[in-house]
Homo-oligomer: 255 residues x 2
DNA sequence: CGAGATCTTGAACTAGATCAAACAACGTGG
DNA sequence: CCACGTTGTTTGATCTAGTTCAAGATCTCG
């Protein structure tokens, strides 16, 4: 390790604390020295243009990635050339774990807007993780969170009603914004309606209609990609299958 | 720790080589000594009755599990009490990773038939993994495979047509049977039609109809839970969105 | 400011859910 | 061994939510 002046370390900590480390390191009570070691291997602040790919299907697992800023989608391509959106990745969420199994990526990671990312070379990460138990724990936890997001995604897809999926999607997205320190009730969607549709297994028209419906019911306000959640509780209720239709002061019929 | 006679080690190896280790250890070129260490912590051959649960929602992460024989489903319960089937687990496939993120299980794991499982206490596993690089690698790979299965599942759910989902499901299940050394074209479904329906986000009647349709087209033969795949290539084709219907009697040409 | 991309809205059509009922497989106990 | 309920599966008929096709509105950005 190099001469770690306190100044230098402070800079590292700041940069990493807002970035991946928000989840990857800090909460585990990692020491300054440990953070230093991790930071040595991270290649920081690469700029990625909108639409550019972080990796493609079949690429060998070289690194895992974290957007410091800017969101990504991961997609698979079906035989007929259609994109399936497998996941969205907000800043601070790990990208690239899809290659863990076979050592090669099964998805493409596409920037939804201009972004800059940190690369964490995977082989070096595992070496360090083996030496630092707290980092190993934390790595597993982060992988677990990624798994949880996949499960959340599946729960959306299994929901029968399109409006439930959409409500669940908006609510979940809000919660993820909350976790990265942004407002959970007012945000700009990083992805298009079409991306959302391919993520939810719906037609894009259905997504659009779902949005306007929620707006009519005063649950959200939409202006293009700007979304404001006006009635979070109602949104959650809708997400969990409570049939909407009566928004006014009507009683609830159980039918 | 105990007197490890060569005889004993041989037994361990045999037991583990057919069990979890099929994926968890052997392929990584683990040495006899390493295998021995892993084996020390594994609690083996617990018997689980049909319908019994390995863990429940909210249970703290105590161990990961591998069925030595017998299949499991993992489910979540939606507010209205309905089961959502999150995954199926054939013998040799790891169960319990859903707790990695928060340290508590998000699913219930229910035995689809009588089974016996090995428990791998999680904290001990991570300790040993940190000491044995090849085991750490292998652990990550196994987690990756679990992730891949989730993605396969999502790809099924996103498919628009019910018949595509069903074809994809049967094909994927066959491949998983192949991986555990069983026939990929003739097997007994460990789960009910209802479980399949809840896994695919369909009504159980739709699953049933899908099966009979495939049978009418001579792609598969079904007798209750016994399935035989008669025309694997056609099954794959159907799974990937090639509209079926033509070829009512025989004669598949072209393409 | 304009042209392409993105989003909304309308109308018609259809795949699949839902309701309902018959049927098969499987113990279990008489 | 058979009647019996129980549970799982198939099949039929209807009805609705969401897809599809089409057109118009709005946004974005060179």
């Amino acid at each position: 390790m190099n001469d770690s002046a306190p100044l230098d370390l402070a800079r590292l900590r700041r940069s990493c604390s807002q970035c991946s480390l928000q989840q990857l390191c800090l909460p585990a009570g990692i020491t300054a020295h440990e953070l230093d070691r991790l930071d040595e291997i991270v290649r920081r602040r690469r700029t990625i243009e909108r639409g550019e790919r972080l990796f493609r299907i079949g690429d060998p697992l070289a690194a895992v990635y974290v957007a410091r800023d800017g969101a990504f989608k991961t997609v698979t391509i079906s035989e007929d050339g259609e994109e399936q959106v497998v996941g969205f990745h907000l800043p601070g969420e790990l990208i690239g774990l899809d290659a863990l199994g076979e050592g090669a990526h099964r998805c493409e990671a596409i920037a939804l807007g201009n972004a800059n990312v940190c690369d964490v070379p995977f082989d070096q990460l595992t070496v360090i993780a083996a030496q630092l138990p707290s980092l190993q724990q934390q790595l597993l936890r982060v992988i677990g969170h990624s798994l949880n997001r996949d499960h959340d995604h599946m729960e959306m897809l299994v929901r029968r009603q399109a409006n439930e999926r959409i409500a669940l999607f908006l609510h979940g997205l809000g919660e993820r914004f909350r976790q990265i320190g942004q407002s959970p009730v007012a945000f700009k969607l990083p992805m298009s309606r079409e991306d959302i549709a391919r993520y939810l297994g719906l037609a894009l028209e259905t997504v659009s209609r779902g949005f306007t419906r929620l707006q009519e019911d005063n649950v959200i306000a939409v202006h293009g990609r700007r979304v404001e959640i006006l009635d979070p509780e109602e949104l959650v209720r809708l997400a969990h299958g409570v049939d909407a239709d009566e928004a006014p002061a009507r009683a609830r019929r159980s039918r």
